[in-house]
Point group: C2
Chain length 343, copies 2
């Protein structure tokens, strides 16, 4: 079956110069996929491919406005009804596309997708779920900043949504779900996390218990659950360390003529190293809990990175992630858990 | 003036084989310092230095028991009155030493130092404050796991204690104090962090506002304040990423004969890189809020790392950190802040 992705071509730091080439590269790699390029027609039209194979699977949907990167989400929602971001979401709502992708501002994408696509019953707002590299593969981690004051029930919802995402896109039968905590023993953690552990143990997931910060990258779980505050800090701290190490390595290799020669000798190795942990490969965070697929790309993504975000959206749509999450939540509501009364 | 450090020689994964050589190296580097080696006399005696310069500044205090690495803190406190950890803390309480250092189990050290040394008025339990490397130097971060459910007032206390520590040991007049948060704007964060920002703004510190996870390593502040849950996750996530990157780099250089040759060529560079971010240099976390100086070393520390922890304790004692924190807290209690009523 063919799936169509609506792409907000105007969002992000670079706009069409990145998003359109990324969309075409995605089409080349996915022969059954289609895309709708959303944005200013006059800008996008000259960038359309000449090859008939691609042009057949690619059309433009005009949108006259653009949400600025620093625009308030409420204002963007209220005042820009014809923004490329909003039109892309509308295409999903109307069934013309099965997913939308944007590198535009996170708050606006949250607000617009929540308003246009609507939340699944029982979910208040989308959780942001990126993929991170680990020593053994990758991990889905949520929430990464959308929900900062969470209850144990929120963490339970994150666990369900993350587990279904991992199961759908990684084809894992029983993804290992871990709870981000400060020790592996049950008695560790703050009150919310302790209550969440009780809930998770009774949700029918493959709950593997607590995962510590370093356990994220050791591959101790396929899904790591945490509140948005902790998740955001963990992610950005990790990025900070990675940048610091990369910078230090570069500086050491640039120190003098001898170290520069060493760099030349080590170039193929350093290239492999860089590719292996290339954050661009992990670009694209799913907004989970919506009735449709929406994926957020880094604003600074280049074409390669943005293509990964489109592919992520395609995988989620092709594997029916929102439908599966909806079904699981409905099941949970129909059969309230014993634990929900007790906690 | 000469300061004496009481060293729990039995704690940590390696015991005297690491702690005693570290103590002697510390004495060599600090000609005015003295140490008391605390532990089983029969084990320590043969390890004493023969040089009279060192042996004059170094004595053994027998302690018949050892707190195990996995022992419950309450049990260690109740049942092992003659543990090396406890005896070291007693030496500080009795004024025979000005600081104690242990690589033993964190919970037990917290419990014992809190019981023996007592907390400063207004502080409930010690905050754990390590030093982390940054792109521009280093940062003091607290709390790192001792206090998991924090109020805004707790974060205020951490800010005061961290600021005084940084000011004392780094000789900074007005250390920049940042609040770990998920965005730089005031409206960001959870409820506790927002309330803490209001308090911090009125505490007379050099409060530079919110610091994001990556800002820790970019050197955006000299002191970063957070609750123990978030701090622990941030620290361990950082360690996890650093390990993953180091492992990936090693694996790439070991891939085949050509990459091994490249490694040979790059060896001096890789060595400098390793030294620069060597976590051993940052070993030793201060337990702040006590009436005396107690420093916790990593359990797996080698002699070089443990020596850094001893030096850290020495610096804190020589600069009167607990006294200065006590004075500042007393001042704060004497003149309650306007904000404390409003928040």
């Amino acid at each position: 079956m063919s799936h169509t992705i609506a792409i907000d071509c105007m969002g992000g730091d670079h706009g069409p110069s990145v998003t359109v080439p990324a969309a075409l590269a995605f089409l080349r790699a996915h022969p059954n996929a289609r895309v709708i390029l959303v944005g200013q027609d006059a800008l996008l039209r000259p960038m359309l491919p000449s090859s008939s194979d691609l042009s057949e699977r690619c059309r433009i949907q005009h949108a006259s406005e653009v949400v600025a990167m620093d625009e308030g989400p409420a204002l963007a929602l209220r005042n820009k009804k014809d923004s490329s971001m909003r039109v892309a979401a509308n295409l999903v709502k109307d069934g013309e596309a099965q997913a939308c992708v944007s590198a535009g501002n996170t708050g606006a994408l949250m607000a617009i997708s929540r308003f246009v696509l609507k939340m699944l019953p029982g979910i208040d707002r989308p959780a942001i779920c990126p993929i991170l590299p680990t020593m053994t593969g990758h991990v889905h981690m949520l929430d990464l900043g959308a929900n900062v004051d969470c209850t144990a029930e929120h963490l339970q919802q994150f666990a369900i949504m993350g587990s279904i995402l991992a199961s759908a896109v990684d084809h894992l039968e029983r993804p290992r779900v871990g709870l981000l905590n400060i020790g592996e023993e049950d008695i560790k953690g703050n009150e919310v996390v302790k209550a969440a552990a009780v809930l998770l143990r009774q949700t029918g997931l493959n709950f593997v218990g607590n995962v510590e910060g370093d356990g994220i990258y050791k591959g101790h779980a396929d899904v790591v659950v945490c509140d948005g505050f902790v998740g955001n800090v963990a992610l950005k701290s990790s990025e900070g360390v990675a940048q610091m190490m990369a910078t230090a390595l570069k500086q050491e290799f640039k120190r003098n003529i001898f170290t520069k020669l060493a760099a030349l000798a080590a170039m193929p190795v350093l290239k492999n190293f860089k590719h292996r942990l290339d954050h661009r490969r992990y670009n694209g965070a799913s907004l989970l809990g919506l009735r449709g697929v929406a994926v957020k790309s880094h604003g600074s993504a280049d074409a390669y990175a943005f293509e990964q975000a489109i592919a992520r959206a395609y995988e989620a749509a092709a594997n029916g992630v929102p439908e599966r999450i909806g079904a699981k939540l409905a099941e949970l509501h129909a059969q309230p858990l014993v634990a929900e009364e007790g906690v």
